[in-house]
Symmetry: C2
């Protein structure tokens, strides 16, 4: 890469999140950085976009010497506004999202604002990486993750991502020297065992809070969950095609059913 | 199927949407129906879940003789609350979502609350179908779609969905007799060409509204977009694994980079 790369940085925990600050610190060592991030936490927003409300963008001075904007919308809105309004004619060489406070391995990619932001950038043709640290606390220590994040960003800036434009990177919550290395993985098959905590508000109305436990159902050694449980960073190259190809052939009889119906 | 099936019905356009009413009318011919739908329109909510706010459920009398609940959350919240609170010990045989006002073909599955609700039910182990009619208007005529919807629901109730638990069904906006039949398809590769309409509010603050045009980039004849453009209903069996399997091998060199780093 000849020129100094332009890197768009976003997240879902909001522009004040320590994880974003850590990611900006790494990104600015490698290129010119522009930050567009939500003005409030947006965890669990998945691929939501704002259609009913107008969106706001505000330039903020949060990162010494860097252009940064906070956006009233979801993480996906941040990337869309970042591309069309903030970057405008400039082309980003890379989009990085995170560092998320908590895991986005396995099916968590579906619910994750961090990963949806990165996926949105990939749909726009920008190589993108979502980073998550397996520590949900606001005071998580992101220092340990930085050398790995830098290496992965450098790799993508130099080599691109063949057959994909999106990486889902999860980092075990371990000191740098205890991380065994990196594994290129597939997304584990897992589910959430969920329940609702029920309560009554002061007006006597019932309400519910979601809670639950993640349950891995996939014990092969080529998954992201396996890598993380065994002290490795997991990297899952990801796409946006949800087609179940194997299910196409067995469904073909349905084509006949409907033709018959119309012939009657 | 021996017993009368239990069918959970939801959507993303809200509990008052005409598309939901049409879907309920078909579903109740085939089984016992329970409705859990958002109390307000939730288009574009993707796989968002509500984490920051408590959720409310309210029993409503909207459908003669049917149990129906409105929920304060997203479409995915409706399915989770539907399963854990409303259905509780009862097991749904099928979840249907829609009929959405507008297309959810191709990458629209990512942004769609309709499809995310159906996907959530599939993650819970319930066979699920999302239905969308290619007519965005609130006054869309859903009658023409009903015979097809019934056939597809009957097929899934009888045969299940091999290798998948989720169908993304889109219906062209044509009179029944002009619909040529059904095609089992893959998701077309497409993108949105987007822009923001910029305006100034009465307080002098700039704001943005998202708008854009869908652009198909995939001209093969096995895609959902092709089917719809050629007068067929499209049925895409879908999953939740976003791994780009082809991208795994070329990335393996990254594993070595990091091992070297730790050895230094």
């Amino acid at each position: 890469m000849k020129h100094r790369p332009l890197i768009l940085v976003t997240n879902d925990d909001g522009i004040n999140a320590p994880g974003l600050k850590a990611l900006v610190e790494v990104a600015r060592e490698l290129g010119d950085v522009i930050v567009v991030a939500p003005d409030s936490p947006q965890s669990g927003q998945g691929h939501a976009i704002t259609l009913k409300d107008p969106l706001r963008l505000k330039k903020v001075k949060l990162f010494e010497g860097l252009e940064a904007w906070e956006c009233s919308g979801t993480p996906v809105d941040c990337v869309k506004l970042g591309k069309h309004i903030v970057l405008h004619q400039r082309e980003a060489d890379l989009c990085v999202s995170g560092i998320n406070h908590g895991s986005n391995a396995s099916i968590n990619i579906l619910y994750s604002g961090t990963m949806s932001a990165a996926m949105e950038a990939s749909l726009e043709g920008i190589n993108s990486i979502g980073f998550s640290l397996l520590d949900y606390s606001w005071d998580a220590d992101f220092e340990q993750a930085k050398p790995f994040i830098r290496q992965i960003m450098e790799h993508v800036l130099e080599h691109g991502i063949q057959h994909s434009r999106l990486l889902n990177v999860n980092i075990p919550n371990l000191p740098t020297e205890e991380i065994k290395g990196i594994r290129i993985c597939r997304q584990a098959e897992a589910r959430w065992i969920e329940r609702y905590v029920e309560s009554i508000d002061p007006r006597g109305q019932k309400y519910y809070w979601l809670t639950g436990d993640f349950m891995n159902q996939d014990h092969d050694e080529d998954t992201d969950v396996w890598a993380l449980e065994n002290g490795y960073l997991s990297v899952v190259p990801s796409g946006h095609d949800l087609t179940s190809y194997k299910a196409i052939a067995p469904l073909k009889s349905l084509e006949k059913t409907l033709l018959t119906m119309n012939d009657e």
